[in-house]
Symmetry: C2
Subunit: 227 residues, 2 copies
DNA sequence: TTACGATCCGGACCGAGGTCCGTTTAATGT
DNA sequence: ACATTAAACGGACCTCGGTCCGGATCGTAA
């Protein structure tokens, strides 16, 4: 019993399901995502205050200034409340990005082409990458801070949605080849940490990353355009 | 002066340069890697004891059991000493992997083909990936624990060596295309965290990852074999 | 309105990474 | 041998993420 208390957090752990999804969870093999557990009044109020406080702290001191204690204090709430609601720091930051994420999901799942349905798969892949790149460049601070710990990085709902979307398109664009592995590879190119490194530390302009994405999609899908 | 003491660690910060390299640093645009700062006798002794203690802890309790305090205690040394020598936890774990890393570098930089020089680039790329995959599967625990924080992940010397190696081969195999971006993409496939997810969490056999790598190399390099 | 159980709250508490600084010690020159 | 000094040492200390649990509060049903 070395690691006794390590797994079960609070008695009734009712932390929210990380991120709302716009697709049926069954399609993605996610555990049931009990949507909107319908919080108690005080809990809902505190949740709102916490998100607002966190957003303010991000605006004022950057994502690095978002300390769990600071958020709790700014929201005039106990520290335990923050953890009960959001599970951990990553959960809080993720919740902060949730709005933008849902809009993005709506765009590529059911928005107008070429991002949404209606365009040929390769076109949609190109649009998807460009959208991801631009979104990452905008919210880079938060996205980096919200980077989950290594053992959860591939289980984050938002990521799974994006991944399966890419896999779907890719299986159409390149029916041969291991769709699961290739989609992981493509998603790797869009990893915020990599984007940050290339743009901020290596000074690459966004256009180069976009061109690189288009080229990568072509190569992976087996298209033979300009080269 | 909010973040006053956050950047400069100890007065004369003489933490070792992360990882010895077998190639001249100039070739990789690394800051001078003052090889072997020639530690004082006591420092060298303590360094050895710390590494030994850390290795023992890994063997006994897994990488998760490697606490800085535990290592210090096991080596009969003050905690500050650990940090002065290795900078941080990641540095210590990295030092633990250094031996294996140097052997690996020697193998792909100057060993026998197809991993070393002498085989055609695509061959060498395939061999490189397979070697990385197998190595990661072996030392997965440590590699995961040694995962650097997001802001340093792409500056780790070992990674830069591997990256520039892949870039070199790739520029020969696919002279068109953005070698820098494509090599980052390939390296992404070999990320230990991804390997761990695919093998341990998704249950994929190593052979599938190897086949996926070969296929990916073919696609990226523009080869048209079986498909 | 009251009573009751489920849920939530708060903040003391813990562990681990990382830092500081007064003290000790190894190398070097005399 | 001895003085000198740059480097190394140790462990108290700080911060921050995360946990626990006794007590307050909400929703509900009588």
């Amino acid at each position: 019993m070395l690691y006794a208390g390590v797994m079960s957090a609070f008695p009734p752990p009712f932390t929210e399901p990380q991120q709302q999804l716009l697709v049926a969870p069954e399609l993605l093999q996610l555990g049931k995502a009990e949507d909107e557990p319908c919080l108690r009044a005080d809990a809902a109020r505190n949740r709102a205050r916490l998100l607002e406080a966190a957003a303010r702290l991000v605006a004022e001191h950057g994502a690095a200034g978002v300390t769990m204690e600071a958020v709790a204090a700014a929201a005039k709430v106990g520290k335990g409340t923050v953890f009960r609601r959001f599970g951990d720091r990553t959960g809080l930051l993720t919740a902060l990005l949730d709005h933008s994420e849902k809009k993005f999901q709506a765009a590529f799942l059911s928005g107008p082409p070429p991002l949404g349905p209606g365009a040929p798969p390769v076109e949609r892949l190109r649009a998807f990458g460009r959208a991801m790149l631009r979104r990452s460049v905008d919210e880079l601070d938060l996205q980096l801070a919200a980077e989950p710990s290594a053992d959860r990085r591939f289980s984050v709902p938002a990521r799974r949605v994006q991944l399966s979307h890419v896999a779907l398109l890719l299986r159409q664009a390149a029916p041969d080849g291991d769709g699961e592995l290739l989609s992981q590879t493509l998603m790797g190119y869009l990893n915020p940490v990599l984007i940050h490194h290339l743009t901020r530390q290596c000074g690459m302009p966004l256009e180069r990353l976009e061109a690189g994405w288009d080229d990568l999609v072509d190569r992976v899908a087996g298209v033979q355009p300009s080269r």
